[in-house]
Symmetry: C7
Subunit: 95 residues, 7 copies
C-alpha cells in the first residue's frame, strides 16, 4: 500500500476505451492515457504559512478529472498508480 | 455532473458564429474557439495564507469572458467543458 | 455591458491620430495602437493575504496611460475594449 | 499633468551631454539615454500584505539615478516622461 | 554518519533488479536507477514564515517513493546516499 | 553625493593589481574587475511584509566582498561607484 | 578574516584525493572539486517575514556536504574560500 505524503493523492487511472468509434481494437501503444481516475489514498494536506493544515477536498473512492501530464507514475506489483498534487485535481465526477 | 475543486469553475463555451460576414458557412476545423461562455459550476474558492477562504465572484448561469488559451477541456458524454481557474475569468457580461 | 472581475478594469482605448505630422492620412493597418484610454468599468479589487480587499485607485471616466501590450481585447458589438489588471495602469492623465 | 498610480514615480530624464570629450557635437540618434533625472510626481506607494501602505522614499524635485532600461516612456505634448516603479530608483543625487 | 540539515532527509536507494524479465543479468551501466529507498536520517524540518518549525512526515526506516532525478548524491566510504528535500518524497510504502 | 534608496548600498570598488605575477604591467582593458570594495553609503533597508524595516548589516567604511556581476555602475565626476542590493554583499573583510 | 553576511557561511573546501585508485598522481587541472568542507565562519542568519531571525543550524568547525556548483569563491592571501547560502548546505558529517 502507498500512503501519500503532504499535499498528495494517489490515483488509479481509468482505462481508456479499447476500441475506436469504428470498432477497431487498439494496441497498448496506440492508447492515449486518460486523465480520469479513482482516488485510492489521500495525504494529510498542505501546511499554510500560519502553521494551519488544509485537508484535501477529495476522499478515497472519488472519481476525479486531473491536469494532463501532471504527477509521477509509480508501479506496485502489476498496478501503475499516479501520485498527484492536490492542485492538479480539477473536478470530481458525480453521477 | 462535474464538481470543480478549489479555485476552479466549469464553463460551457459559447458556440462561435457558424457563418462568416460574407455568409460562408464554416466547417468545424475553420471555426475559432470563442472565449465567452456560461458558468455551469463553481468551486469552493481559494484558501488564503491566513486560512480564510475566498469565494469566487461568479455564480452558476453567469455569462463570462475569459483569458484565451487558459484552462483544461474535459469531455462528458457529447459535451466539452472548460475547467478554468477563477483568475482566468476577466469579466461578467451583463445585458 | 462588461463587469470586470477581481483586480481588473475595462478600458476604451483612445484612437490614435489619423494623420502623420506631414499630413498623410493613415490607413487602419498603419495605425499604431495607443496606450491611452478611458476607464469604463472597475472591478472590486484584489484580496490581500490577510483577507482585506484593496480597491483600485482609478474610477469610471478616468483618462489613463497603461503598459503597452498588456491585457486582453474583448469585442462587444462594434466596440473593442481592453481588460487590464490594475497593476498595468501607470498613471492618470489630469488636465 | 500625469498622476502616477500605486508604487510609481514620474521622471524627467536629464539630457545627455551634446558633445563628446573631443568636442564633437552629437546628433540625436548618436546620444545615449541618461539614467539620471528629476522626480516630477510620486504615487501613493505600495500596499504590504498586511494592508499597510509604504510611501516612496523620494519626493518631487529629487534628482535620482535609476536602473537602466527600466520603466515606460510616455509622451505629453512635446515632453517625454519616464514612468518607473519605485524599486527601479537606485539613489538620490545630493549636492 | 550524515546528519541532514533543515528540510532534508537522507535516503539509501533500493537496488534495482539485476535481471530482466527474460532472465538476462544486467551490467551496472545498463541498470536504471530506482526511485525507491529507505529513509536513513531526517532533518529538523522547515521553518514557516511565522517562525514555527514543521517536522518532516517521515521517520528513519520508512520505505519511500521519491521524485525521479531529485536531490544530490553523496558518497560515504563504499555507500552512495541520496539527500532529498522533504517535498521530493511522494509516498510511504506500507506492507 | 549619492544617497542609496531602500535596500541598497554604494560601493567604491577596490582597484585590481596593476601587474601580473610575472611583473607585466596591465593596461586598463586587460584588468579584471575586482569584487571587493569599501561601503561609502548605506540605504535605510528593506521593508518586511509586516511593515518592519530591516537595517543593512554593513556600515560606511566597511570593506566588503560582493557577488560578481551584481549591481549598477554610476559615474559621479571622475569616480565610478557600484550600487548594490544588500543581498549581493557576501562578507565583511576584517583585519 | 571574512565575516559572512546574513544567511551565509564560509567554507574551506576539503582537498580532493591527489591519486586515483590505480595510484596515478593527479595534476591540479585534473582534480575535480570536492563538495565537502569545514565551516570557518557563520553569518547571523535569515530574517523571516515576521522580523524574527533564524540562526543557521551549523557552527564553526562543522564538517559539511554542500550543493555542487553553489556559492562564490573568494581569495584571501593564498587561501580560497567558498561563501555559501545556508540553504546550500545539505548535511553535517559526523564521526
Amino acid at each position: 500500500m502507498l500512503k501519500p505524503l503532504g499535499n498528495r493523492v494517489i490515483i488509479e487511472r481509468k482505462e481508456q476505451e479499447q476500441t475506436t468509434k469504428s470498432g477497431i481494437v487498439l494496441t497498448d501503444s496506440a492508447k492515449e492515457k486518460s486523465n480520469e481516475g479513482i482516488v485510492v489514498a489521500v495525504g494529510t494536506g498542505r501546511v499554510l504559512d500560519n502553521g494551519e493544515k488544509v485537508a484535501p477536498e477529495v476522499k478515497e473512492g472519488d472519481r476525479v478529472v486531473f491536469q494532463e501530464y501532471a504527477g509521477s507514475e509509480v508501479k506496485r506489483g502489476d498496478e501503475t498508480y499516479l501520485i498527484l498534487n492536490v492542485e492538479d485535481l480539477l473536478a470530481i465526477i458525480e453521477d
